[in-house]
Symmetry: C2
Subunit: 215 residues, 2 copies
DNA sequence: CTAGAACCGTACCGTACGGTACGGCTGCGG
DNA sequence: CCGCAGCCGTACCGTACGGTACGGTTCTAG
Protein backbone atom coordinates (compact mmCIF):
# COMPACT_ATOMS: atom_id res chain seq x y z
CA UNK A 1 0.00 0.00 0.00
CA UNK A 2 2.51 2.58 -1.07
CA UNK A 3 0.96 5.83 -2.12
CA UNK A 4 -2.69 6.74 -2.42
CA UNK A 5 -3.45 6.66 -6.11
CA UNK A 6 -6.16 8.56 -7.85
CA UNK A 7 -8.16 5.76 -9.38
CA UNK A 8 -11.40 7.67 -9.73
CA UNK A 9 -12.89 8.02 -13.17
CA UNK A 10 -12.35 11.78 -13.10
CA UNK A 11 -15.39 12.03 -15.36
CA UNK A 12 -14.04 13.60 -18.50
CA UNK A 13 -16.52 15.29 -20.79
CA UNK A 14 -16.97 13.71 -24.23
CA UNK A 15 -14.98 16.53 -25.77
CA UNK A 16 -12.17 15.92 -23.31
CA UNK A 17 -12.27 12.22 -24.04
CA UNK A 18 -11.93 13.00 -27.72
CA UNK A 19 -8.82 14.99 -26.89
CA UNK A 20 -7.45 12.14 -24.79
CA UNK A 21 -8.14 9.73 -27.62
CA UNK A 22 -6.19 11.96 -29.96
CA UNK A 23 -3.33 12.10 -27.47
CA UNK A 24 -3.31 8.33 -27.11
CA UNK A 25 -3.35 7.85 -30.85
CA UNK A 26 -0.39 10.13 -31.24
CA UNK A 27 1.36 8.32 -28.42
CA UNK A 28 0.86 5.00 -30.13
CA UNK A 29 1.93 6.34 -33.51
CA UNK A 30 4.83 8.63 -32.75
CA UNK A 31 6.08 7.00 -29.61
CA UNK A 32 6.83 9.50 -26.89
CA UNK A 33 7.47 12.32 -29.35
CA UNK A 34 4.05 13.73 -28.53
CA UNK A 35 3.99 17.53 -28.44
CA UNK A 36 1.25 19.79 -27.20
CA UNK A 37 0.97 21.39 -30.61
CA UNK A 38 0.52 18.01 -32.25
CA UNK A 39 -2.21 16.99 -29.82
CA UNK A 40 -3.99 20.30 -30.29
CA UNK A 41 -3.88 19.97 -34.04
CA UNK A 42 -5.00 16.33 -34.01
CA UNK A 43 -7.84 17.07 -31.65
CA UNK A 44 -8.76 20.31 -33.39
CA UNK A 45 -8.54 22.28 -30.24
CA UNK A 46 -6.35 25.11 -29.10
CA UNK A 47 -3.31 24.73 -26.91
CA UNK A 48 -4.88 27.18 -24.53
CA UNK A 49 -7.69 24.71 -23.97
CA UNK A 50 -5.25 21.91 -23.34
CA UNK A 51 -3.53 23.91 -20.67
CA UNK A 52 -6.81 25.01 -19.20
CA UNK A 53 -8.08 21.45 -18.93
CA UNK A 54 -4.96 19.53 -18.03
CA UNK A 55 -2.63 22.07 -16.50
CA UNK A 56 0.54 21.15 -18.28
CA UNK A 57 2.09 18.48 -20.46
CA UNK A 58 2.45 16.09 -17.56
CA UNK A 59 -1.18 16.57 -16.66
CA UNK A 60 -2.26 15.70 -20.17
CA UNK A 61 -0.04 12.64 -20.18
CA UNK A 62 -1.29 11.54 -16.79
CA UNK A 63 -4.90 12.03 -17.77
CA UNK A 64 -4.37 10.05 -20.95
CA UNK A 65 -2.67 7.14 -19.24
CA UNK A 66 -5.11 7.10 -16.37
CA UNK A 67 -8.15 7.29 -18.57
CA UNK A 68 -6.91 4.52 -20.84
CA UNK A 69 -5.47 2.27 -18.15
CA UNK A 70 -8.76 2.24 -16.33
CA UNK A 71 -10.31 0.60 -19.37
CA UNK A 72 -8.48 -2.68 -18.86
CA UNK A 73 -11.09 -5.17 -17.91
CA UNK A 74 -10.55 -8.10 -15.63
CA UNK A 75 -12.59 -11.28 -15.46
CA UNK A 76 -14.82 -11.78 -12.48
CA UNK A 77 -15.21 -15.22 -11.04
CA UNK A 78 -17.93 -16.60 -8.90
CA UNK A 79 -16.06 -17.88 -5.90
CA UNK A 80 -18.96 -19.84 -4.54
CA UNK A 81 -19.04 -22.51 -7.24
CA UNK A 82 -15.38 -23.34 -7.37
CA UNK A 83 -14.67 -26.72 -8.85
CA UNK A 84 -11.54 -28.00 -10.49
CA UNK A 85 -13.07 -27.26 -13.84
CA UNK A 86 -14.20 -23.76 -12.93
CA UNK A 87 -10.81 -23.01 -11.38
CA UNK A 88 -8.98 -24.08 -14.50
CA UNK A 89 -11.25 -22.06 -16.72
CA UNK A 90 -10.83 -19.03 -14.50
CA UNK A 91 -7.07 -19.31 -14.55
CA UNK A 92 -7.11 -19.68 -18.30
CA UNK A 93 -9.28 -16.63 -18.62
CA UNK A 94 -6.89 -14.60 -16.47
CA UNK A 95 -3.93 -15.78 -18.49
CA UNK A 96 -5.69 -15.01 -21.75
CA UNK A 97 -6.69 -11.52 -20.68
CA UNK A 98 -3.25 -10.81 -19.31
CA UNK A 99 -1.47 -11.93 -22.45
CA UNK A 100 -3.93 -10.23 -24.76
CA UNK A 101 -3.49 -7.00 -22.86
CA UNK A 102 0.28 -6.85 -22.66
CA UNK A 103 0.84 -7.61 -26.32
CA UNK A 104 -1.53 -4.87 -27.43
CA UNK A 105 0.00 -1.74 -28.91
CA UNK A 106 -1.83 0.43 -26.45
CA UNK A 107 -0.47 -1.45 -23.47
CA UNK A 108 3.04 -1.40 -24.87
CA UNK A 109 2.80 2.32 -25.46
CA UNK A 110 1.41 2.99 -22.01
CA UNK A 111 4.08 0.92 -20.33
CA UNK A 112 6.82 2.55 -22.37
CA UNK A 113 5.52 5.99 -21.56
CA UNK A 114 5.29 5.21 -17.87
CA UNK A 115 8.78 3.69 -17.83
CA UNK A 116 10.21 6.68 -19.65
CA UNK A 117 8.49 8.83 -17.11
CA UNK A 118 9.84 6.77 -14.25
CA UNK A 119 13.33 7.36 -15.58
CA UNK A 120 12.89 11.01 -14.64
CA UNK A 121 12.16 10.67 -10.95
CA UNK A 122 8.45 10.91 -11.81
CA UNK A 123 6.73 7.69 -10.78
CA UNK A 124 3.14 8.81 -10.95
CA UNK A 125 2.53 7.28 -14.35
CA UNK A 126 4.32 4.13 -13.31
CA UNK A 127 2.06 3.81 -10.30
CA UNK A 128 -1.04 4.28 -12.41
CA UNK A 129 0.02 1.59 -14.85
CA UNK A 130 1.03 -0.72 -12.05
CA UNK A 131 -2.22 -0.13 -10.27
CA UNK A 132 -4.25 -0.98 -13.35
CA UNK A 133 -1.98 -3.75 -14.55
CA UNK A 134 -0.08 -6.19 -12.33
CA UNK A 135 -1.66 -5.00 -9.10
CA UNK A 136 -5.16 -5.17 -10.51
CA UNK A 137 -4.50 -8.73 -11.57
CA UNK A 138 -3.22 -9.51 -8.13
CA UNK A 139 -6.26 -8.07 -6.42
CA UNK A 140 -8.57 -10.10 -8.57
CA UNK A 141 -6.60 -13.31 -8.60
CA UNK A 142 -5.65 -13.64 -4.96
CA UNK A 143 -9.17 -14.15 -3.63
CA UNK A 144 -9.74 -16.84 -6.19
CA UNK A 145 -6.54 -18.60 -5.28
CA UNK A 146 -7.43 -18.45 -1.62
CA UNK A 147 -10.93 -19.69 -2.24
CA UNK A 148 -9.43 -22.55 -4.22
CA UNK A 149 -7.15 -23.34 -1.34
CA UNK A 150 -10.05 -23.35 1.05
CA UNK A 151 -11.81 -25.73 -1.33
CA UNK A 152 -8.76 -27.98 -1.24
CA UNK A 153 -8.15 -27.43 -4.94
CA UNK A 154 -4.83 -25.66 -4.49
CA UNK A 155 -2.03 -25.98 -1.98
CA UNK A 156 0.30 -23.11 -1.07
CA UNK A 157 1.50 -21.25 1.97
CA UNK A 158 1.45 -17.68 0.67
CA UNK A 159 -0.99 -16.52 -1.97
CA UNK A 160 1.45 -13.80 -2.89
CA UNK A 161 3.96 -16.39 -4.06
CA UNK A 162 1.32 -18.28 -5.97
CA UNK A 163 0.17 -15.14 -7.73
CA UNK A 164 3.67 -14.14 -8.73
CA UNK A 165 4.42 -17.60 -10.03
CA UNK A 166 1.31 -17.49 -12.13
CA UNK A 167 2.29 -14.09 -13.48
CA UNK A 168 5.76 -15.35 -14.38
CA UNK A 169 4.47 -18.49 -16.06
CA UNK A 170 2.09 -16.47 -18.19
CA UNK A 171 4.18 -13.45 -19.10
CA UNK A 172 7.62 -15.07 -19.26
CA UNK A 173 9.91 -12.86 -21.34
CA UNK A 174 7.20 -11.67 -23.68
CA UNK A 175 6.56 -8.26 -22.16
CA UNK A 176 10.15 -7.15 -21.74
CA UNK A 177 10.98 -8.25 -25.26
CA UNK A 178 8.04 -6.33 -26.69
CA UNK A 179 8.92 -3.26 -24.65
CA UNK A 180 12.46 -3.41 -25.96
CA UNK A 181 11.19 -3.71 -29.51
CA UNK A 182 12.44 -7.22 -30.20
CA UNK A 183 12.31 -7.53 -33.95
CA UNK A 184 11.89 -11.28 -33.71
CA UNK A 185 8.70 -11.03 -31.72
CA UNK A 186 5.87 -9.34 -33.53
CA UNK A 187 2.47 -8.82 -32.05
CA UNK A 188 0.76 -11.13 -34.51
CA UNK A 189 3.51 -13.63 -33.93
CA UNK A 190 2.64 -13.87 -30.26
CA UNK A 191 -1.05 -13.51 -30.85
CA UNK A 192 -1.17 -16.73 -32.82
CA UNK A 193 0.18 -18.69 -29.87
CA UNK A 194 -1.93 -17.19 -27.14
CA UNK A 195 -4.16 -20.19 -26.68
CA UNK A 196 -1.24 -22.59 -26.58
CA UNK A 197 0.61 -20.45 -24.08
CA UNK A 198 -2.47 -19.98 -21.94
CA UNK A 199 -2.98 -23.70 -21.76
CA UNK A 200 0.67 -24.36 -21.01
CA UNK A 201 0.89 -21.76 -18.26
CA UNK A 202 -2.27 -23.04 -16.60
CA UNK A 203 -1.09 -26.61 -16.79
CA UNK A 204 2.22 -25.68 -15.23
CA UNK A 205 0.63 -23.64 -12.51
CA UNK A 206 -1.74 -26.44 -11.59
CA UNK A 207 1.11 -28.92 -11.69
CA UNK A 208 2.95 -26.82 -9.14
CA UNK A 209 0.10 -25.78 -6.89
CA UNK A 210 -2.73 -28.20 -7.60
CA UNK A 211 -3.67 -30.34 -4.65
CA UNK A 212 -4.38 -33.34 -6.86
CA UNK A 213 -4.83 -34.18 -10.51
CA UNK A 214 -6.67 -31.12 -11.77
CA UNK A 215 -7.15 -31.90 -15.39
CA UNK B 1 18.23 -13.81 -36.18
CA UNK B 2 16.68 -10.45 -36.90
CA UNK B 3 19.26 -7.80 -37.53
CA UNK B 4 23.02 -8.13 -37.42
CA UNK B 5 24.09 -6.54 -34.18
CA UNK B 6 27.42 -5.02 -33.45
CA UNK B 7 28.52 -7.10 -30.50
CA UNK B 8 32.22 -6.49 -30.88
CA UNK B 9 34.05 -4.84 -28.03
CA UNK B 10 34.75 -1.80 -30.19
CA UNK B 11 37.91 -1.32 -28.12
CA UNK B 12 37.42 2.03 -26.51
CA UNK B 13 40.49 3.85 -25.29
CA UNK B 14 40.75 4.39 -21.54
CA UNK B 15 39.90 8.03 -22.00
CA UNK B 16 36.84 7.10 -23.99
CA UNK B 17 35.83 4.61 -21.34
CA UNK B 18 36.11 7.35 -18.76
CA UNK B 19 33.72 9.40 -20.85
CA UNK B 20 31.34 6.48 -21.15
CA UNK B 21 31.51 5.96 -17.41
CA UNK B 22 30.58 9.58 -16.89
CA UNK B 23 27.70 9.19 -19.30
CA UNK B 24 26.47 6.09 -17.53
CA UNK B 25 26.71 7.77 -14.14
CA UNK B 26 24.66 10.67 -15.39
CA UNK B 27 22.18 8.25 -16.90
CA UNK B 28 21.77 6.46 -13.58
CA UNK B 29 21.51 9.70 -11.64
CA UNK B 30 19.42 11.94 -13.80
CA UNK B 31 17.42 9.36 -15.64
CA UNK B 32 17.19 10.03 -19.32
CA UNK B 33 17.73 13.77 -18.93
CA UNK B 34 21.33 13.36 -20.03
CA UNK B 35 22.54 16.23 -22.22
CA UNK B 36 25.72 16.43 -24.23
CA UNK B 37 26.83 19.46 -22.26
CA UNK B 38 26.34 17.62 -18.99
CA UNK B 39 28.37 14.63 -20.17
CA UNK B 40 31.13 16.88 -21.44
CA UNK B 41 31.30 18.75 -18.16
CA UNK B 42 31.21 15.59 -16.07
CA UNK B 43 33.89 13.94 -18.16
CA UNK B 44 35.95 17.13 -18.42
CA UNK B 45 36.04 16.97 -22.15
CA UNK B 46 34.75 19.21 -24.88
CA UNK B 47 31.57 18.65 -26.77
CA UNK B 48 33.58 18.73 -29.95
CA UNK B 49 35.41 15.62 -28.76
CA UNK B 50 32.15 13.89 -27.96
CA UNK B 51 30.88 14.49 -31.45
CA UNK B 52 34.19 13.49 -32.95
CA UNK B 53 34.24 10.20 -31.08
CA UNK B 54 30.61 9.21 -31.07
CA UNK B 55 29.05 11.05 -33.98
CA UNK B 56 25.95 12.34 -32.28
CA UNK B 57 23.87 11.95 -29.15
CA UNK B 58 22.50 8.62 -30.27
CA UNK B 59 26.00 7.36 -30.93
CA UNK B 60 27.09 8.29 -27.44
CA UNK B 61 24.05 6.63 -25.96
CA UNK B 62 24.56 3.53 -28.04
CA UNK B 63 28.22 3.30 -27.15
CA UNK B 64 27.42 3.69 -23.46
CA UNK B 65 24.75 1.02 -23.45
CA UNK B 66 26.76 -1.34 -25.59
CA UNK B 67 29.92 -0.93 -23.55
CA UNK B 68 28.09 -1.44 -20.28
CA UNK B 69 25.79 -4.22 -21.41
CA UNK B 70 28.72 -6.27 -22.60
CA UNK B 71 29.97 -6.36 -19.04
CA UNK B 72 27.16 -8.61 -17.84
CA UNK B 73 28.78 -11.86 -17.01
CA UNK B 74 27.16 -15.22 -17.42
CA UNK B 75 28.08 -18.41 -15.64
CA UNK B 76 29.78 -21.10 -17.65
CA UNK B 77 28.93 -24.67 -16.96
CA UNK B 78 30.89 -27.75 -17.74
CA UNK B 79 28.45 -29.80 -19.76
CA UNK B 80 30.48 -32.97 -19.55
CA UNK B 81 29.96 -33.59 -15.83
CA UNK B 82 26.27 -33.03 -15.64
CA UNK B 83 24.68 -34.65 -12.64
CA UNK B 84 21.48 -33.82 -10.84
CA UNK B 85 23.47 -31.89 -8.30
CA UNK B 86 25.53 -29.99 -10.86
CA UNK B 87 22.41 -29.20 -12.87
CA UNK B 88 20.65 -27.81 -9.87
CA UNK B 89 23.60 -25.70 -8.89
CA UNK B 90 23.95 -24.41 -12.42
CA UNK B 91 20.31 -23.43 -12.58
CA UNK B 92 20.57 -21.72 -9.24
CA UNK B 93 23.60 -19.82 -10.44
CA UNK B 94 21.78 -18.67 -13.54
CA UNK B 95 18.80 -17.60 -11.50
CA UNK B 96 21.00 -15.76 -9.02
CA UNK B 97 22.92 -13.92 -11.72
CA UNK B 98 19.76 -13.04 -13.58
CA UNK B 99 18.02 -11.68 -10.51
CA UNK B 100 21.08 -9.84 -9.28
CA UNK B 101 21.48 -8.21 -12.65
CA UNK B 102 17.95 -7.04 -13.26
CA UNK B 103 17.53 -5.47 -9.85
CA UNK B 104 20.71 -3.44 -10.19
CA UNK B 105 20.38 0.27 -10.81
CA UNK B 106 22.56 0.04 -13.87
CA UNK B 107 20.40 -2.62 -15.45
CA UNK B 108 17.24 -0.73 -14.65
CA UNK B 109 18.67 2.41 -16.17
CA UNK B 110 19.86 0.61 -19.30
CA UNK B 111 16.53 -1.08 -19.80
CA UNK B 112 14.64 2.14 -19.25
CA UNK B 113 16.85 3.97 -21.68
CA UNK B 114 16.48 1.27 -24.30
CA UNK B 115 12.71 1.17 -23.85
CA UNK B 116 12.46 4.93 -24.10
CA UNK B 117 14.51 4.68 -27.24
CA UNK B 118 12.31 1.93 -28.60
CA UNK B 119 9.32 4.20 -28.15
CA UNK B 120 10.77 6.39 -30.88
CA UNK B 121 11.01 3.89 -33.69
CA UNK B 122 14.68 3.37 -32.77
CA UNK B 123 15.21 -0.21 -31.71
CA UNK B 124 18.99 -0.38 -31.81
CA UNK B 125 19.41 0.12 -28.08
CA UNK B 126 16.65 -2.35 -27.42
CA UNK B 127 18.39 -4.95 -29.53
CA UNK B 128 21.67 -4.39 -27.74
CA UNK B 129 20.06 -4.81 -24.34
CA UNK B 130 18.13 -7.83 -25.51
CA UNK B 131 21.23 -9.35 -27.01
CA UNK B 132 23.18 -8.96 -23.79
CA UNK B 133 20.28 -9.76 -21.49
CA UNK B 134 17.53 -12.27 -22.21
CA UNK B 135 19.08 -13.59 -25.39
CA UNK B 136 22.49 -14.03 -23.79
CA UNK B 137 20.86 -16.03 -21.04
CA UNK B 138 19.08 -18.09 -23.59
CA UNK B 139 22.25 -18.85 -25.54
CA UNK B 140 24.02 -19.99 -22.41
CA UNK B 141 21.16 -21.86 -20.83
CA UNK B 142 19.82 -23.78 -23.78
CA UNK B 143 22.88 -25.99 -24.30
CA UNK B 144 22.82 -26.89 -20.65
CA UNK B 145 19.15 -27.77 -20.77
CA UNK B 146 19.71 -29.91 -23.82
CA UNK B 147 22.69 -31.62 -22.30
CA UNK B 148 20.58 -32.31 -19.24
CA UNK B 149 17.90 -33.79 -21.43
CA UNK B 150 20.44 -36.00 -23.15
CA UNK B 151 21.58 -37.10 -19.71
CA UNK B 152 17.97 -37.95 -18.85
CA UNK B 153 17.92 -35.33 -16.11
CA UNK B 154 15.29 -33.18 -17.74
CA UNK B 155 12.32 -33.89 -19.92
CA UNK B 156 10.90 -31.44 -22.45
CA UNK B 157 10.06 -31.28 -26.12
CA UNK B 158 11.30 -27.79 -26.97
CA UNK B 159 14.24 -26.23 -25.18
CA UNK B 160 12.84 -22.85 -26.10
CA UNK B 161 9.78 -23.46 -23.96
CA UNK B 162 11.88 -24.73 -21.09
CA UNK B 163 14.11 -21.67 -21.21
CA UNK B 164 11.20 -19.26 -21.25
CA UNK B 165 9.52 -21.02 -18.36
CA UNK B 166 12.71 -20.77 -16.38
CA UNK B 167 12.95 -17.08 -17.19
CA UNK B 168 9.39 -16.51 -16.07
CA UNK B 169 9.77 -18.44 -12.85
CA UNK B 170 12.86 -16.43 -11.93
CA UNK B 171 11.88 -12.93 -13.02
CA UNK B 172 8.15 -13.06 -12.32
CA UNK B 173 6.86 -9.49 -12.00
CA UNK B 174 10.02 -8.11 -10.45
CA UNK B 175 11.52 -6.48 -13.51
CA UNK B 176 8.42 -4.74 -14.80
CA UNK B 177 7.63 -3.41 -11.35
CA UNK B 178 11.13 -2.05 -10.92
CA UNK B 179 11.07 -0.49 -14.37
CA UNK B 180 7.79 1.21 -13.54
CA UNK B 181 9.24 2.51 -10.30
CA UNK B 182 7.03 0.54 -7.93
CA UNK B 183 7.43 2.28 -4.60
CA UNK B 184 6.65 -0.91 -2.73
CA UNK B 185 9.55 -2.78 -4.24
CA UNK B 186 12.93 -1.36 -3.37
CA UNK B 187 16.17 -2.82 -4.54
CA UNK B 188 17.30 -3.82 -1.07
CA UNK B 189 13.85 -5.23 -0.48
CA UNK B 190 14.27 -7.68 -3.32
CA UNK B 191 17.94 -8.23 -2.67
CA UNK B 192 17.22 -9.72 0.73
CA UNK B 193 15.06 -12.42 -0.80
CA UNK B 194 17.26 -13.39 -3.71
CA UNK B 195 18.40 -16.68 -2.25
CA UNK B 196 14.90 -17.70 -1.30
CA UNK B 197 13.58 -16.80 -4.72
CA UNK B 198 16.45 -18.54 -6.48
CA UNK B 199 15.75 -21.70 -4.56
CA UNK B 200 12.04 -21.50 -5.17
CA UNK B 201 12.37 -20.89 -8.89
CA UNK B 202 14.81 -23.76 -9.30
CA UNK B 203 12.61 -26.10 -7.32
CA UNK B 204 9.64 -25.19 -9.42
CA UNK B 205 11.50 -25.57 -12.66
CA UNK B 206 12.79 -28.99 -11.68
CA UNK B 207 9.35 -29.99 -10.53
CA UNK B 208 8.01 -29.15 -13.97
CA UNK B 209 10.82 -30.44 -16.14
CA UNK B 210 12.81 -32.84 -13.99
CA UNK B 211 12.79 -36.42 -15.19
CA UNK B 212 12.75 -37.77 -11.66
CA UNK B 213 13.35 -36.62 -8.09
CA UNK B 214 16.15 -34.10 -8.63
CA UNK B 215 16.85 -32.89 -5.15
C1' DC C 1 62.72 24.29 -31.66
C1' DT C 2 58.98 23.85 -34.63
C1' DA C 3 54.84 21.89 -36.81
C1' DG C 4 50.98 19.71 -36.24
C1' DA C 5 47.65 16.79 -34.06
C1' DA C 6 44.56 16.15 -30.30
C1' DC C 7 41.79 18.16 -27.16
C1' DC C 8 39.74 21.52 -23.69
C1' DG C 9 36.71 25.38 -22.77
C1' DT C 10 33.58 28.51 -24.31
C1' DA C 11 30.96 31.02 -27.20
C1' DC C 12 27.71 30.71 -30.69
C1' DC C 13 23.74 29.24 -33.91
C1' DG C 14 19.32 27.14 -35.17
C1' DT C 15 15.48 24.99 -33.90
C1' DA C 16 11.98 22.64 -31.43
C1' DC C 17 8.90 22.89 -27.99
C1' DG C 18 6.43 24.28 -23.52
C1' DG C 19 3.72 27.77 -22.21
C1' DT C 20 1.12 32.47 -22.91
C1' DA C 21 -1.49 36.14 -25.19
C1' DC C 22 -4.85 37.71 -28.17
C1' DG C 23 -8.18 38.37 -31.84
C1' DG C 24 -12.17 36.32 -33.80
C1' DC C 25 -16.16 33.04 -33.95
C1' DT C 26 -20.17 30.69 -31.85
C1' DG C 27 -23.80 29.93 -28.73
C1' DC C 28 -26.52 30.99 -24.77
C1' DG C 29 -28.85 33.66 -20.90
C1' DG C 30 -31.29 37.76 -20.28
C1' DC D 1 -30.27 42.59 -29.50
C1' DC D 2 -26.45 42.62 -26.01
C1' DG D 3 -22.94 40.74 -23.40
C1' DC D 4 -20.35 37.24 -21.92
C1' DA D 5 -18.24 32.66 -21.64
C1' DG D 6 -15.92 29.13 -23.98
C1' DC D 7 -13.14 27.84 -27.45
C1' DC D 8 -10.37 27.83 -31.91
C1' DG D 9 -6.37 29.30 -34.50
C1' DT D 10 -2.29 31.61 -34.68
C1' DA D 11 1.26 34.32 -33.44
C1' DC D 12 4.53 34.99 -30.04
C1' DC D 13 8.15 34.42 -26.15
C1' DG D 14 11.77 32.13 -23.51
C1' DT D 15 14.62 28.57 -22.99
C1' DA D 16 16.93 24.32 -23.36
C1' DC D 17 19.57 21.62 -26.06
C1' DG D 18 21.86 19.44 -30.29
C1' DG D 19 25.43 20.55 -33.04
C1' DT D 20 29.44 23.72 -34.85
C1' DA D 21 33.30 26.96 -34.74
C1' DC D 22 37.34 28.67 -32.86
C1' DG D 23 41.07 30.25 -29.92
C1' DG D 24 44.25 28.48 -26.61
C1' DT D 25 46.95 24.64 -24.44
C1' DT D 26 49.38 20.35 -24.13
C1' DC D 27 51.72 16.56 -26.15
C1' DT D 28 54.34 14.17 -29.67
C1' DA D 29 57.36 13.62 -33.78
C1' DG D 30 61.02 14.93 -36.30
Amino acid sequence: MPVPIKISEETFTPRQQAVLTAALDLLVENGDGITMTAVARRASCSKETLYKWFGDRDGLLTATVQWQAAKVRMPTVDRSHLSAKVLRESLEQFARDLLTTIIGEVSITLNRTAITHAAQEKDSLGNIVLENGPLAIRRRLKPILEAARDARLLRFSASEDAYRTFFGLVVRDVQIRLLLGDSGLTQSNVEANIEVDVKAATDQFLALYGAKANL
